[in-house]
Subunit: 211 residues, 2 copies
């Protein structure tokens, strides 16, 4: 029987199921979620309805990202039976290994950001005489955070998503450019998030033909 | 013959040579180098003289750390034939793997330091009215650097040393508390640096008995 599955290009065995790791940004970022729905809740529900029709795929989200999503979507508003189609799984962070050159990149990145932060702080001190301290500090905070949290992975949630995709050899769907940059380094499959809905719809059509 | 070596607890085969990775701090940090010599050059020469008498050990330093050391010691001052006893080897950074949980620790650490930096910048802005901008910026730089480069690995040189010790399963000798902290996480052998000279002297005595 396994032989049969192998010989038939259209049939997918359960072990061959495509695993897909989703990031919260897919439902929260307005530019990306629009194809699914107008609000995070609407977008998430639309996704779950599509996922329900795709037994050939497994959808995953790390619990840390899911918690973030619930914050935007509202815990009580999701039809709970639909949650069957999205697994919440953290990565095996004490078993997984990552290439050592990543440490160099992280540290290099950290140094650059720290230096940027110092430049911003210096400018704030210089302009302290011109504008009031309160206004200045507000401005400093905004600039500092912007400069230091840009374009790279900087949270546990980000690492969870990357490692989970690595562990499952999954397709990563995210709107976060920092995550995509690291997916490139780690050889993780990824798809332009704006195309994700079309991808799901096409997959459903293919499954219907095969039935 | 291999059998013989195994049965004799005092003989060391060439494959069993103890590998030792050295950090620059050993010769630069005054508290630690004192047992070897008063200046970095004196300390480094004293070490090389001991290493020469220890065919049962192999000493390594990453080129990045060695370059740093030359800066303190003076390039032309080291007796070049003695350099035979210290290998300069970078780690295989594109082959080595490190445990994924380290990514979480690095990122957590980075976030804490970034927040610390912001607090320091805020204080500098607040006191900008009291003390002059120039003095204030000098003060800011010192505090910022202190806060953000404390107790953890934050340079390519640090990563080189850790990964090289990991790769060679070597004994790490460093006076850097940040490196020791990470050696603990990675299961790398390390020795209190103040005891390193005694360790070498004892090893030489043991070798003499065996000849």
């Amino acid at each position: 029987m396994e032989e049969n599955i192998k010989n038939c290009p259209h049939k997918i065995s359960t072990t061959d199921r495509l695993k897909i790791v989703l990031d919260t940004s897919l439902f929260v970022n307005p530019d990306v979620r629009n194809s699914f729905g107008k609000s995070p809740l609407e977008a998430f529900e639309a996704f779950l309805h599509l996922a329900e029709q795709l037994p050939s795929m497994e959808f995953y989200m790390p619990p840390s990202a899911f918690k973030e999503l619930l914050y935007f979507v509202g815990k009580d508003k999701i039809p709970t039976d639909l949650l069957l189609y999205l697994f919440q799984k953290p990565p095996k962070k004490y078993e997984l290994k990552c290439p050592a050159f990543l440490l160099y990149e992280l540290i290099e990145d950290m140094r650059e950001r720290i230096n940027k932060g110092l430049r911003i702080a210096e400018n704030a001190v210089r302009s302290a005489e011109k504008i009031g301290a309160d206004e200045n500090i507000k401005d400093l905070r905004r600039k500092y955070r912007e400069a230091l949290r840009e374009g790279i992975i900087d949270s546990r949630e980000d690492v969870d998503i990357l490692l989970l995709a690595m562990e499952l050899d999954a397709l990563l769907i995210t709107a976060d450019q920092g995550l995509i940059k690291w997916a490139e380094k780690l050889g993780i499959k990824w798809l332009i998030p704006e195309m994700f809905k079309d991808f799901l719809v096409s997959a459903i059509k293919r499954e219907e033909i095969q039935v």
